[in-house]
Each structure stands twice: as structure tokens, then as C-alpha cells.
């Protein structure tokens, strides 16, 4: 059985090709092979949500997926949110305005979870937002400012 595999995927609209050991996790592949270090690793067992990225439009935990499983997939990471010219995405703007982050380590995971939520449920109410964010841990904020950030982002995206 081959121990390495060629992986072709699209990340943030760009095509990548790399070779990785079949046991390599997706987050390690993103960070080490593709140099996309914005996705952080918090627990390596799928609970804290810091490593959340989008795979084919759905939030996944890149620490408990293998890179090989993402072969042929379309991924989006935190690096894909803002426009290259320096314009933050409305979700990022809202987190900034509502102080939805302190140390910022869990933030990429929250942003990506929020991205999928607001794509699929632009009218999400507070309970739905909480339900969606309940798989992401933050130790700094106590979550209240994160909740306010997501509400603000939702209303801005609705009115765009």
C-alpha cells in the first residue's frame, strides 16, 4: 500500500497540488505543505473547533480529517475571507467592531463556522447562532461579544 499520495485541491480559489503521507492530517497539510498557517490547531481531537475550515461549503474540523480525504475538494480557510486588497469581509468587520476576539487564536474557527451559518441561514436567530457556535471553544471572551459580532454580521449581510 502506498504511504504517500498526490493531493490536488482548490483552496481559496487557487489550485494546489502536493504529495503527502496518507496519515497526514488535513490541517498539517494546509499549514506545512501549503503554508496556510491561519488555521490554528487547538486540541487535535475535534472538540475545540479552532481548526474549522470549509470543505465544499461545509464546516469541517481539519484536525481530524486526513489530507487525502480532501483530494479533489474545494476548501476555504480564514485566508480566503478578506479581499486581497485589504478589505475585510463583513464577518471580520463585525468581529472587529464588536470586540469578538481577544487573543485571536480561536477566531479563524469561529469566522469559518459563522461563514457557513450565514450562507445557509442568513436569518438565523440568537438560538440558532448559539447552536451553530456551540462546537467552537473560546477561553477569552465569554462568547457574548462573539454572539453580538455574528448578529451584526448577519444583519449587514442581509442588507447588502
Amino acid at each position: 500500500m502506498a504511504t504517500t499520495r498526490t493531493i490536488k485541491l482548490r483552496v481559496n480559489g487557487r489550485d494546489y497540488e502536493g504529495t503527502a503521507e496518507v496519515r497526514k492530517t488535513l490541517v498539517d497539510f494546509l499549514r506545512e505543505d501549503l503554508g496556510l498557517t491561519g488555521t490554528n490547531v487547538g486540541c487535535e481531537h475535534g472538540v475545540c473547533g479552532a481548526c474549522t475550515i470549509l470543505m465544499n461549503g461545509e464546516a469541517v474540523r481539519s484536525c481530524i480529517m486526513l489530507a487525502a480525504q480532501a483530494d479533489g475538494a474545494e476548501l476555504m480557510t480564514v485566508e480566503g475571507l478578506a479581499k486581497p486588497g485589504g478589505e475585510l469581509h463583513p464577518i471580520q468587520e463585525a468581529f472587529r467592531e464588536k470586540h469578538g476576539l481577544q487573543c485571536g487564536f480561536c477566531t479563524p474557527g469561529f469566522l469559518m463556522t459563522t461563514y457557513e451559518l450565514l450562507q445557509k441561514h442568513p436569518d438565523a436567530d440568537e438560538e440558532e447562532i448559539k447552536e451553530w457556535l456551540s462546537g467552537n471553544l473560546c477561553r477569552c471572551t465569554g462568547y457574548q461579544d462573539i454572539l453580538e459580532s455574528v448578529k451584526l454580521a448577519a444583519s449587514r449581510l442581509r442588507n447588502r
Binding site: T37, G38, L81, H99, G104, S134, N136, Y143
Partner: protein
């Protein structure tokens, strides 16, 4: 000291502060939001090796042999480090009191399940972990010491080699006339309490990258380290390295909460680097290692306490005896957490007579380490719980007892029985604000209604005091040899560049506390410039001014002092230059609204930027003694602290922030689950430099407190094996458990600290556990049961409910 340090924002040299005291966008955010922060784990250099650590599966065992030959042969493995080398190359890891720790790797025996036994460095992390499985260790299990109360009695095996006892620390502090206070009481409430261990659990784990060059002798450390001034002595002591040969480059931190000093692992990875002879090696702790092996657990305490009161609720005396299960070593500054209650023994109450004894005992568990709030949360819970118990017995409303014993507004500055000074406060006013805003009377009526319906609804009210800027003085009680100092220096360098822009250099990295932003706020108001005209950087340990960093609720106080001191020095220097340019006497020149102007001569003024550019361009015109360098440094230190005497009497801290919280809970009779129905807090931390940042810290501390009160616990079995070694079992609060709290501000400025601020970073973690735990017991009160063990997990509550049912 520069003259006239501003004691309030209104005393800054500006008509109206535009940034200080106001919500201001954080300069840290854009990088965090776009994934561009370079955390320790993001650093990769060419040829860097990766470390993995083999850990002991036994809590207590002799190491009969270690064979690393199979691991060393694995392709990609560069080296394996074992205890033999660590013993030859280093001294035991730092801890006070001295002599109660082991080496960074187990040598002859293991002391806890999870203790490092060997380290592998390999070309990647996967291979390093493969190699761990090829290391053959032969253990001979020994009887594990798991019960701290037995461990301290002498009938137990000893945890540490060469010791004939497990008691690392045992002190009693008596203030006032405790016997008299007891004798004069109408009621003595006695209760035993148990607080189980938990920890800070930042979402980023620890990362250390070490490179020890054999030719220059230079040891370079990168990664998420907190406070080089704390780590450096540990390195000098353990490694025998010369301090000027150590360069600590601090990456931003993904949270710390006390954890990121991790000196044991910095020493260990440095030793791995020594073995590698000049190749950099990175260790990134995984979460399970963090939970099991990071010496950062805190407060594993058994308390026996008494509160003595008069019939009218006046507290006449208090006794507290506590035994803390320190784990395998008295490592690092863990003992300090037993001593910190000396700073605020009576919380925000005047309790003149206090008998406090604390014993730190070794067991075969993970060693304790610093944790946010540094030992105080159990202390405040016990005081509030005893007040609630006493209120029932005396037939008084508990808040009546609180009011009767609060330190009154007119008693500040208040000298506590242990000599520590509370600078200012308004506890009664805060409580009234809390009761008013929460609708306390209505909540009590709702509770009665709920009880009538058979529901278990409870209300908790609790207070705390947060000593701001603590540190060395209390540690003198653990090690007078090392901590004969009253200083906690915080330094900064501020300079103008050749374009009239400002650059400030700090000695500690971003970690959520927003310090880069608030340095910018203060400098922008001081020199009348825009936020965007200021750059703030963290510099490495060889370049920085003396710096303590954001520990023990010190940052806003000490860093404000440093920034203001440097700004004043720089302004004084620029005045001399402006005087030349304005053809005036320097004594007549002042800085105001960003202009150097001549007093009494309207229209004659120069912007600070213009003065600095002139200063750099025209050395020929500068007054004698003024160089062409528009920069200043300043190192701020806390005023008036003292080294405590043998009885523990001393002035330990600078500010005292007060907090009053209220919580309403409902306990599910079937499951023991607690639901927080309402949470209200009033916090008085003086002037808030950036209100949304302060509010965010309070909310975060509250969430941390909910975890400590209801969820988080490191559970060990009787063999010393930890049963909660993943986030499946160690339960961190999520957005579902943390209530949407209301926060109301009370502002009693500090008369001592710069700008009237008070330390508040540890904040709500002081108060929330007490509030929630008292609320749960209030809910259970009709059943006649009380829980005196934290956290109050569903299982503990369910057991108490079963106990009540069988009565």
C-alpha cells in the same frame, strides 16, 4: 518619577482625551482576523527538527532501564534525550521553596502519570511520535501517593527522592485576636470545603523552539512564552547558562491564563537543543499533553473553616486551615497561590481577627502551576458560603451581614489585618447597584413562586476583591532568599522617527490583553497625534526594558505608568529643543494638545513632530547636553510595597478592584444539571482605559468561573491515573453554558495608580465561582442538603439530591 503623573485621564496634556477611556479599535485585530498572526507553531525554519515527548504511564514507578537504540535507528530521528543527560547537564527545575522539584525529565523514578521520560527530535513530528513507540522503558511500579490528607501525615511513601516528608510548605499566619474574636461570638459556623483542580486551558497550547549554538554559546528561544523576566532566572538556575547568552523571542500568545510560563518545558527543549548541537528544535504541546502533563493544574484544596459572628451579623473572627495537593513537585511559583489570600483575607469585609494556615503537600499527580486569579476563587467562595450559612442560622438576610461587614467607603485607604492596603472602593454602593439592577426583590419573589411549584431555583450573591499588581512581596514568604524585592518593573521605550511618527517598544507579546492598543491610546492623547501615527512592537529579551508583563492583574497599572513616564521624559527633552525653536525659555514651554507652546504667548507653538525633526536635523543648534535622539525609556515600579515580616504582615499589592455578582440558577431534579437563569455583575475597577476591552475580560473571566464552578475538573483514580485527559471528559464551557450576563459599571478611581486604573485582568474569575456555587446551594436549601465541593458537577448534585431523598 516624572513630576505629576496623571492620576486621571483628564490630567493628560490635552483638552479632552480622544482615545483614553473610550472604546478604540484594537491594533491587534486585523492580523488575528485574517489568520496572519505568527504564533509559535507557525514558525518554521530551514532544517528545524521537531520534538515529541515520551511520558510515564505510571504515577509512581522506578525506571529500571531505558533503551533508545531502536528509536535512534529510525530514519529521520536526529537524537533521543533521556534523564541521564538531563541530570548531567542541568539542575532540578525551578521552584520555591527551593529543593522540592525534580529534573525536567524523570531520572531514577517517575512522579506522575504523564511526566516526561524521554524526548525525541526528528525531521517531522510524525516520525518523532513513531520513535516514541520504539523506546523501551522498564518500570517497576511503586505505591502511588494520591490522597493529600494522608500524604501529609508521614504514614505515606515519599514522592520526591531524598526527602523524608511530602510536606513542601506549612505556614500559619495569625492576625489580630482570634481567640478573643471566637470567644466573643454568638455563633461559630464551621464547615469543610473541597476545591478540585482545573486549569487555564488557553486554546493555543505551549510551543517552544530552541536553538543552542555550540560555537557562540547562544541559546535562542522562540515561541509563546510569557514574561522573559520570569523564565530567565529559571533557565539560569536550571541550565547554568549565562543570562546574556539567552535570547527569548516572544511570539504572540493564543491565550495564557498563567500557563505560558511553562519553565519546565523550556528547560527540557533547551536541553534537547544542547544535545542537537546547533540545530533548532520545535516542540508543540498537544492538547492531551497539556491536560495531563503541563504543570499548570491549580488548586486542589481541602479546607476546614470557621466564621464567628455576633447575633447582629458582625463577623468577629475567621479561621481557615487548608491543605493543597500540589502534585508531584512544588514547582515554579505554585506555592504563591497559597500565599495570595494573605493580600485579601477578609475579602471586602473588615475581618480583624484571622487565623490562616496553609500546607502544600506532594502527591503523584501533575504539578500545580500558575492559574488566573492565583488561588483566590476558593477563598472567596468559602467566605460567601459561610455568610449564607450564618445568615440562615441567625435569621438574617445574608446581604444584611454583607452590608454590616463591608469595609466602608470612608475607611479607605484600608489597611487590612495582614498589612496590605486597599486603595479605594465602594462595596456597599456596588451591592446596592447590583440588587437594584438585577431586581433582587422580584427575583426572590420569583424564587418563592418556583419553589411553590416544586422547582429548585436558587440565588447567589457574592463579592470579591481583586488585588492589582501583586508578585514578589508575597513570594518572599516562600523564598526570602530569591524574593527580597518589592519591584515589579514594567519598562518601555518611546521614540519619534525621522518622519515625526512614534514607535513604542514593549517587553511582552500580545496575548489578548490589548496592550499594544492601549499604549497607542495613551501616546496618541499625550502627544496629540492620531492612532495611526503610532507603531507598537514587542521586542526580544535582549532588547527590551525590564518588564514583568501582564501577570497578577498588573498590566493596565504598570504599563500606564511606564508609558506616561517615558512620554513625560521625552516631552521634557523636547521642551528644551522647542525652546530654542520658539526663542523662549525652556521653563516657559509646555506640551498641550500636541503642541509645544509658550505659556502666555498665544499663537506661538510647534507640533511635536516638527520639534523632533528639527532635533534630528540640526545638532548644531541643540542646547548643550541635548543629543539628537528624540527617545526616552522609563521603567515604572509599584510604589510603597514592602517585604512582609515573618508574621506575614506587609504591603503586597497596589490596587483593589471590587466586584459584586448575582446569579439565579435552576437545578434539574432528575439530572442534577444546573441552568443559569440570570447573571448580573457590578465591577469597580476604577477608570477603564478601553471599556469594551475591560468588559470583554470580565465576560471571559465569568465564563472561566462558570467552568470552574460547574464543569472543569481533573479527576484521578486511586492509582493516580487521570480520567479526564481529553476535551471529551474535561469539560470547557461553551456558548451554551455561559450566560448572557449583564454588566454594570461602578467607578471608584484608584488614587495611587496612574490614570486611576485598577488591575482587572483576572477579574470575574474571582467572583463567579462563589456566586454560582452559592446559588446552587440556595436552590438545594429546601431539601436540607448542601454541597461543599467544587465543581458542582451534575453527578455531585445528583448524589446530593439522592441523599436528600433518602433522608
Amino acid at each position: 518619577m516624572p513630576k505629576a503623573e496623571p492620576k486621571l485621564p483628564s490630567e493628560l496634556p490635552i483638552t479632552q482625551p480622544r482615545y483614553v477611556g473610550k472604546d478604540s479599535p484594537r491594533m491587534e485585530d486585523p492580523l488575528s482576523l485574517t489568520g496572519k498572526v505568527e504564533y509559535g507553531n507557525d514558525i518554521r525554519t530551514l532544517g528545524m527538527l521537531h520534538a515529541a515527548i515520551l511520558r510515564s504511564p505510571h504515577a509512581h514507578a522506578l525506571i529500571k532501564s531505558i533503551d533508545t537504540s531502536r528509536a535512534e535507528k529510525l530514519p529521520g530521528v536526529a537524537a533521543v534525550l533521556t534523564g541521564k543527560e538531563v541530570k548531567a547537564w542541568s539542575r532540578p527545575v525551578f521552584g520555591v521553596p527551593e529543593g522540592w522539584t525534580g529534573y525536567a525529565l524523570a531520572v531514577e523514578k517517575t512522579h506522575w502519570a504523564g511526566e516526561p521520560v524521554a524526548v525525541v527530535a526528528a525531521s517531522d513530528r510524525y516520525i518523532a511520535e513513531d520513535a516514541l513507540e520504539l523506546i523501551d522503558v522498564e518500570y517497576e511500579p511503586l505505591e502511588p501517593v494520591v490522597d493529600a490528607l494522608k500524604a501529609g501525615t508521614g504514614s505515606s511513601p515519599c514522592v520526591l527522592e531524598g526527602k523524608d516528608s511530602n510536606v513542601a510548605y506549612d505556614r500559619r499566619f495569625v492576625f489580630g485576636d482570634v481567640e478573643g474574636g471566637m470567644a466573643g461570638a454568638d455563633l461559630i459556623v464551621r464547615e469543610q470545603f473541597r476545591w478540585h483542580r482545573s486549569s487555564g486551558n488557553p486554546i493555543e497550547t505551549c510551543v517552544c523552539i530552541a536553538d543552542w549554538d555550540p560555537f557562540t554559546g547562544m541559546l535562542t528561544l522562540r515561541g509563546g512564552h510569557r514574561s522573559p523576566h520570569l523564565i530567565l532566572p529559571a533557565l539560569v538556575i536550571s541550565l547554568g547558562v549565562s543570562s546574556q547568552q539567552v535570547r527569548i523571542v516572544q511570539s504572540p500568545l493564543g491565550g495564557s491564563f498563567g500557563v505560558k510560563t511553562f519553565a519546565r518545558y523550556v528547560v527540557l527543549i533547551a536541553l534537547m537543543a544542547k544535545k542537537l548541537g546547533g540545530r533548532a528544535v520545535k516542540w508543540t504541546e498537544d492538547r492531551i499533553e497539556h491536560l495531563v502533563g503541563n504543570s499548570s493544574h491549580a488548586w486542589d484544596r481541602h479546607y476546614d473553616c470557621e466564621l464567628a459572628l455576633k447575633r447582629d451579623g458582625t463577623i468577629t473572627a475567621m479561621t481557615m486551615k487548608l491543605v493543597d495537593d500540589l502534585g508531584a513537585f512544588a514547582e515554579w511559583l505554585a506555592i504563591g497561590m497559597l500565599l495570595k489570600p494573605l493580600l485579601c483575607l477578609g475579602s471586602c469585609y473588615h475581618i480583624a481577627n484571622v487565623d490562616y494556615s496553609c500546607k502544600g503537600v506532594l502527591t503523584n499527580k501533575t504539578p500545580q502551576g500558575p492559574l488566573r486569579a492565583f488561588g483566590l476563587p476558593p477563598h472567596f467562595w468559602i467566605i460567601e458560603q459561610l455568610i449564607d450559612i450564618a445568615a440562615k442560622k441567625l435569621g438574617l438576610e445574608a446581604n444584611e451581614i454583607r452590608r454590616r461587614n463591608f469595609i466602608r467607603k470612608d475607611q479607605f485607604p484600608y489597611i487590612s489585618p495582614s498589612g496590605n492596603v486597599y486603595d479605594s472602593g465602594n462595596y456597599e454602593g456596588s451591592l446596592e447597584l447590583l440588587l437594584d439592577r438585577s431586581g433582587y426583590d422580584r427575583l426572590r419573589r420569583e424564587q418563592q413562586q418556583a419553589r411553590a411549584e416544586g422547582r429548585l431555583v436558587g440565588i447567589g450573591v457574592a463579592s470579591s476583591v481583586e488585588p492589582g499588581l501583586t508578585g514578589p512581596p508575597m513570594l518572599a514568604l516562600a523564598s526570602p532568599r530569591i524574593f527580597t524585592r518589592t519591584s515589579s518593573p514594567e519598562g518601555i521605550l518611546v521614540r519619534f522617527d525621522g518622519f515625526g511618527k512614534i514607535i513604542a517598544e514593549l517587553g511582552f507579546p500580545p496575548g489578548g490583553q490589548s496592550q499594544h492598543s492601549f499604549v497607542r491610546q495613551i501616546l496618541a492623547d499625550y502627544f496629540g497625534v492620531k492612532l495611526e501615527d503610532i507603531q507598537v512592537l514587542t521586542v526580544d529579551s535582549l532588547s527590551m526594558q525590564p518588564s514583568t508583563g501582564p501577570i497578577s492583574s498588573s498590566m493596565a497599572i504598570a504599563l500606564s505608568g511606564a508609558v506616561l513616564g517615558a512620554a513625560a521624559r521625552l516631552a521634557d527633552k523636547l521642551k528644551l529643543v522647542a525652546a530654542v525653536m520658539l526663542e523662549a525659555s525652556a521653563d516657559d514651554v509646555e506640551l498641550f494638545d500636541g503642541q509645544f507652546r509658550v505659556r502666555g504667548v498665544p499663537g506661538k507653538s510647534l507640533a511635536a513632530a516638527a520639534v523632533t525633526q528639527f532635533m534630528m536635523a540640526r545638532p548644531d543648534l541643540l542646547p548643550e547636553g541635548v543629543d539628537g535622539n528624540p527617545q526616552a525609556t522609563y521603567v515604572w515600579n509599584p510604589p510603597d510595597r514592602t517585604i512582609p515580616d515573618e508574621k506575614g504582615f506587609g504591603r503586597y499589592s497596589v490596587t483593589a478592584a471590587g466586584a459584586q455578582h448575582l446569579c439565579m440558577v435552576e437545578v434539574d431534579r432528575e439530572t442534577g444539571q444546573v441552568k443559569i437563569l440570570k447573571y448580573v455583575m457590578v465591577d469597580d475597577c476604577g477608570v477603564r482605559l478601553n471599556p469594551s476591552v475591560v468588559r470583554g475580560m470580565l465576560m471571559g473571566g465569568m465564563a472561566h468561573g462558570v467552568g470552574a464552578a460547574l464543569l472543569e475538573e481533573y479527576v484521578y483514580d486511586d492509582q493516580g491515573q487521570m480520567l479526564t485527559s481529553s476535551y471529551m471528559d474535561y469539560l470547557m464551557p461553551t456558548i451554551m453554558e455561559v450566560p448572557a450576563a449583564e454588566e454594570h459599571e461602578m467607578c471608584t478611581p484608584s488614587p495611587i495608580a496612574p490614570l486611576g486604573v485598577k488591575g482587572v485582568g483576572e477579574g470575574a474569575l474571582h467572583t463567579t465561582p462563589a456566586t454560582v456555587l452559592c446559588a446552587v446551594n440556595d436552590a438545594l436549601e429546601p431539601l436540607g442538603v448542601r454541597i461543599t465541593e467544587a465543581p458542582m458537577t451534575p453527578l455531585r448534585i445528583w448524589r446530593a439530591l439522592q441523599g436528600a431523598a433518602s433522608h
